[in-house]
Structures are given as C-alpha cells and as structure tokens.
C-alpha cells in the first residue's frame, strides 16, 4: 500500500472535513442549492460527511424566477431522492413585497436582486452559516476569499478584514446576526468539478449537455430565447446545439456551442477550453473590472 490519495480524493476529503467543522461548530447552517453543478457536488460531499445520518442543515434555493425548467425539475427530484428539507426563497416575492425593484431595459436581470432575497432568507431563518459552491478559480476576487468567509450583520464582505486562515483550522465564531459563508470546494477547479461528477456518476440537469435550443447572439454570447428577455433591434433567434457551463438567471446566462452529449464528452471539452467559465457565460461579470468584488462586498454569493 502506498497510502496515497489522488488529487480529487484529497479535495473531497478536505470538503468533507470543512462541512463537518461547520456542522459541529455553528448552530444553524444552511446549504445553498441552485441545481447547478457546484452545488450538486456539495450535496454529494454532504452525503459523504453525514450519512447514514441526515444532513444537519436544510437546503435553500434562491429562486430568481428566471429558471431553466430543466433545472427546477432536477432540483425537486434530487431533493426528494435525498429526503432532505428544501427552503425556496423567491426573488419574485422580494419584488412583490417591495424589498427590491425589478431592473428594466433589455439587459435587465435578477442577478443583483438575489442578494437581498438571500440575506432576507438568512435573517428570517436565523442561519449563522451558509454553504456555497463558489470556487477560487472562478474569478480574481474569489481567489482571495477565505474558506470560512465572515459576513457582518449587513451581510457584507470586507476583503481587507478577513480572518487569517491557517492549516485546516477554521474560525467560524459569529455573534448574533452575523454569519459565515463557507466554501467547501474553494480549492476545486471547473475541471475538478466535472471530473468528480464523472467519477461519482452524479446526475446533472440536462442543460449541461448539448441540446438544440432557440437562441440569439448578444455581447458575443448565445442567450436562450425566453419570456425573461426581450430581443433588441438586429437580434434574431436561431436554433443551435448548445450546452451550458453555468446555471444562472436565464436572461444573462450564455450557452456554448457544443455537441458534447455525455459526461465524458463534456469533461473532454472543459479540459480543452480556452475561455473561463464566467468569461464565456456570465454577462453580469463582464460589467466591470471589479464587478464580482463589488457584488461580494454587499453580500452576494
């Protein structure tokens, strides 16, 4: 025996350790589950961390209302299979209650609005820790975020006042009203996530595989034609074979042209890609050089 773990199993062991620390040290954690690939990995890590027991936390979906129907189907199926509790916090409700105002214009999305719904959800249920599937390879501001990321009672992240994080010893201490965001797959790359989904034979929503869809081109991305987005002058819809690299607000999440219909083919494409996940598929991150940093500061995922 050589007593070695390969890279994926080392990352898995780290993720399980992080989840158990949170379950042991915080009073009321929640796991943010979007139905996207990263949170799908979180659910598997939670199974590995806590079975045969139940998860010591509920799941929460911040529902923009701008969903790919395939993702909602998947979400409900997966939650039922796990037998765990799902809380849905709805952006539509935040709008109806006047907590936030719907953006207008052709590029309107509900991405920013999610922050209020998320923070309201955390406050309403008294959560003191929220697991998220964010990865440090996604974006430059994320590369500097701790695994246990402290949020003050306004949900704000202060990148200059982060707690030092050493070895595998985490400080999750919070006062009432404050919380920590915890990112068990901080050290995973997009390819790690797909390789893990492949190794674990995890089901993912069908939109991650190539399918024919009515799309139009905007800002160099292929956006899905839907009720949530109005075509501008000069934009025409056409049918293309696409798959998605991320799951988000349908109005701003771009698909990539692809014929990868199986998990093996997707892993092959990701390994060969020359464009980052967010650069290719998230219009919201293209807004400015520090778009993510600014959103994170006010409480975004």
């Amino acid at each position: 025996m050589n007593y070695k773990l390969d890279e994926l199993r080392q990352l898995e062991a780290e993720g399980i350790h992080i989840m158990r620390e949170v379950a042991a040290e915080l009073e009321r954690p929640v796991l943010l589950f979007s139905g996207g690939k990263d949170s799908i990995v979180l659910l598997r890590l939670a199974e590995k961390a806590f079975r045969p027991g139940r998860f010591p936390f509920p799941l929460m979906h911040i529902d923009t209302g701008h969903n790919f129907p395939e993702v909602i189907d998947y979400r409900d199926r997966r939650v039922a299979e796990l037998g765990e509790e799902l809380i849905v916090a709805s952006v539509q409700e935040s709008i109806d209650q006047g907590r936030v105002k719907e953006e207008t214009g052709p590029r309107a999305s509900r991405n920013q609005l999610q922050t209020t719904t998320l923070l309201d959800g955390i406050e309403k249920h008294g959560f003191d820790a929220a697991f998220g599937g964010a990865r440090r390879d996604e974006e430059r501001a994320r590369a500097k975020e701790r695994i246990f990321s402290f949020r003050d009672d306004f949900g704000q992240w202060d990148p200059k006042e982060q707690r030092p994080e050493l070895w595998n010893i985490y400080n999750g201490r919070v006062r009432k009203g404050e919380h920590v965001r915890v990112f068990p797959i901080s050290n995973w790359t997009e390819l790690d996530v797909w390789s893990y989904i492949q190794a674990e034979e995890l089901e993912v929503p069908s939109i991650y595989f190539a399918h024919e869809r009515e799309v139009f081109r905007r800002d160099g991305m292929l956006l899905a034609a839907s009720d949530f987005v109005a075509l501008q002058e000069g934009e025409k819809t056409f049918t293309a074979s696409v798959r998605y690299r991320t799951v988000g607000d349908m109005a701003v999440t771009g698909g990539v042209e692809s014929t990868a219909a199986s998990i093996d083919e997707v892993v092959g494409e990701i390994a060969a890609t020359r464009i980052t996940e967010r650069g290719e598929t998230r219009a919201d991150d293209r807004a400015s050089e520090a778009a993510m940093e600014d959103r994170k500061r006010v409480g975004y995922f």
Binding site: Y3, P52, R54, N171, S186
Partner: protein, 430 residues
C-alpha cells in the same frame, strides 16, 4: 490500493491519476513573483483567452509596455491600484502529471502573517531572489518562515538572470550566500534554479541562454518532487470532529466518530485509546459513504466505529494505543502574532487545536524571534503584529497535542480573541 473497498468512487492513484502539490510563493514586491506565477500559468497554457485579453488591455491602459502577467494574479481593486499584492491568493494550474495549488503570499515586510498563512498548507515553498540584489533580509525571512512552518522542500529561484547577462558566477554566488543562511534552517531539500520570469527562461522549458545550467526547469522540478514522505504515517492521530448518530430505524445503534486522519494509518481491529479520558477499545470498522475501508490514512475523512460503548465526543482524540500523546494543561509554542494590539503575559485567549477549543492564559512571552536570523531576543516581553516568538500558555482544560515538528495536524493551533472573535495568532507546539 484503493482507499475504499467499493470500486465506485474510490481513489485509485495507481491508475496514474494526478496527485496534488500545494506550494507557497514568496518574494519581495519587485522580485517578480506575480510575473513568475503568471508565467507558469501562461506557459503551461492555463491562462484563458479572456483573461489574457483582459490583462493585455489593462497593461496597455497602464502603459506597462509589455503584457504584464502580474495582472493575472492581482485580484482586488486596491491591489490593482497600488500595484502590489496585499493578501494571500490561491491559484490553480495543472499538468498531466500533477495539479498545483499556489498560495501566493505577499513579500512586503508588514505582511508576515500572510506568509505564515500561505506556508501553513504548503508542501513546498518557492523563494524568489533578484539576481542583481542577491540574498536580502526579505529572502532570509521567507526561508526562515518556510522552515518554521515545517516545509521540507525549498526552491530558490534566482530571477532576472537576463539582467546580469546570465552570468554563472552571479548564480553561484547567490547560491553560496543562501546556503550559508540555510545552515540554520531545518529544510532537508533545497533546489536552486536560475530563471527569467519575464522571458520565461527555465520556468517551463530549459533556456538556451544558460548552457551552463543542466536543469531542471522549475515546472519539471515541481512535477517530480516527492512530498508523500513528508507525512507522518507512524503515529495514529484521529481528532474527532462530529458524532454521527442517526437513531433511525435502519441505523438504530449506529454511533460513528467522524473526522479526518491527522497522521498514522488506522486499521479495523487495532487497539486505540480515546483521549483525554484514556479509555481503550478497538476499531470495529472504518466507515465511508462508499463502503468500509481497509485502512484510513491522512488526509482521508472517514467515520470510525468502535467496539465498545465508550464516551467519545467532538474534541476528543482517538490515537494508537501503543504510542498515544499526553494530554496537557500547559503548552510551550512558537507563535506568530497577527493582531494590532501586542500579545503580553496575562492575555486571555481561546486556543483551537485540531477539533478542540479551550481557554488559555498567556503565562509568559519567553522570547522574540528575529525571523531574519532566527536569533532569540530573551529580553522581549511582548509580541507585536507580525512578530514571532516563544510563548507559554496555561489551559483551562487539557489538550492533546504533539510537537509540530513531528505532527503538523496535532501540533498546530490558532488563537482567537473572544471579545472580537478575530483570529489573532497562529501557534506551533514546541
């Protein structure tokens, strides 16, 4: 050998799956550290087109006159404005042989705490030295911190060799100077590589500019260096994180102790001792989601089932019965202080070591370490921000610990100020 008995989802390193190397980079602001990392990412083709486009545009706007690869790693707005790296950033790249996690830590003096943080998870440390300046106090500090944090592998990159015309005697003299410094360190493996991060010489491929240097190139070395033997596979230590007790119909009597193996190898049937109670029992099974495992070793996260119904809770340590550590109410440790207000005798803090938190009072600040020379100042009675020194702590209840040099997992702790909840220090048990 796979980690679990169940083939599905099991680890299988023998099939050639890549392993993981965690490295820390350190260097002074102008040593070209960010450029080197940008170069590693770029030359191993891991910079994506949109990132490169962004960096190219920003370089142009700043008037850099070249594609400034340092911009790839400078993440936060303040850094881009000031042109320096102000916090620990984690970078990822991979080759077919290995995956790498870089903890990129700032070189500036006042940021010792970040360097310690970055080094705490690293297997290997890359120290950059500007060929024109030679060994500086900065590079001495980086080497000392790597050594203090128990890193066994050091790579000294003598950078900007193009600016000294690739003169072999410059490289040799830097190497000799550094070897002098290293005599005081406990780093068994030191490798010297002459490079130009800006031009990419000897970073990924061997450079034609230095025919006198036989290799290896930096990346080649990083791909080959063996860190698996750095782990302690002898002393069994399993800090209990969480007790799994489903109390469901199907698992009515299940009581599992979940945690991550800190050191040693555990096998079913072995006699273990639960600390601090000292109760002895045997391992009934090593449970995982993928089935029972035949062995558990670091860094596996598993669940231990014990044969006898002994009281075990979070914070306890399960250890091999024949070589168990002692529980103690007093700790002597090297501490890196990370708070603005200095640490003095009498201070009350929380200590978190492995999965156990206890209160502690500082009995004595014994000495301050000159991180540059590793000399002791025995007259010191306080540690300021970014100081390191030896401290004696008295604990409110017993802790099970090992010396850091033999066991990183059970010899390291953090100090928490309970009034602010901030992490204010990091300690290594003497």
């Amino acid at each position: 050998m796979s980690a679990t008995s169940n083939g599905h989802g099991a680890a299988n390193p023998e099939a050639g799956a890549p392993d993981l190397l965690r490295l820390a980079t350190a260097g002074s602001v102008d040593d070209g550290k960010s450029t080197l990392i940008g170069r590693l990412l770029f030359d191993s083709k891991l910079v994506f087109e949109d990132q490169l486009e962004h960096v190219t545009e920003t370089s142009k706007r700043r008037g850099d006159g070249y594609v400034n690869l340092a911009l790839l790693t400078d993440g936060l707005r303040a850094e881009r404005e000031q042109g320096i790296t102000i916090d620990v950033a984690y970078r990822y790249f991979a080759t077919p042989k290995r995956r790498f996690i870089i903890a990129d830590t700032p070189g500036h003096e006042q940021y010792t705490r970040n360097m310690v943080t970055g080094a705490s998870t690293a297997d290997l440390s890359v120290v950059l030295i500007d060929a024109r300046n030679g060994v500086t106090s900065q590079s001495r500090r980086h080497a000392s911190i790597s050594s203090l944090l128990g890193i066994h592998h050091l790579v000294v990159c003598v950078n900007k060799m193009d600016l000294v015309d690739w003169d072999e005697s410059v490289f040799k003299s830097v190497k000799a100077d550094f070897q002098n410094v290293a005599e005081k360190l406990e780093v068994p493996d030191i490798t010297f590589i002459p490079i130009s991060a800006l031009n990419g010489d000897n970073v990924v491929d061997l450079s034609e500019a230095a025919p006198w240097y036989p290799g290896p190139a930096l990346l080649d070395h990083l791909e080959r260096v063996d860190v698996s033997r750095d782990r302690n596979l002898v002393d069994g230590r399993f800090p209990v994180q969480y007790v799994i007790r489903p109390m469901s119909d199907s698992h009515h009597d299940y009581r599992g102790y979940a945690g991550q193996v800190a050191s040693g190898v555990f096998r079913p049937g072995e006699e273990v001792v639960v600390l601090p109670s000292g109760k002895r029992t045997h391992i009934a099974a090593i449970d995982t989601f993928d089935g029972e495992a035949k062995a558990a070793f670091p860094p596996m996260s598993v669940t231990l089932l014990l044969e006898d119904d002994v009281a075990v809770s979070r914070g306890d340590m399960i250890a091999h019965a024949d070589a168990a550590p002692e529980a103690t109410r007093a700790l002597r440790a090297t501490v890196c202080w990370m708070d603005d207000a200095p640490l003095r005798a009498g201070a009350k803090l929380a200590v978190k070591l492995a999965t156990k938190s206890v209160r502690a009072v500082v009995e004595d600040v014994c000495c301050r370490l000159d991180v540059e020379t590793l000399d002791h100042d025995d007259d010191a009675d306080e540690l300021g921000l970014n100081d390191m020194g030896t401290v004696e702590l008295r604990l409110s209840s017993p802790l099970v610990a090992d010396p850091y040099v033999t066991n990183r997992g059970t010899g390291s702790f953090i100090l928490i100020d309970e009034s602010t909840n901030h992490t204010v220090g990091a300690g290594m048990v003497a």
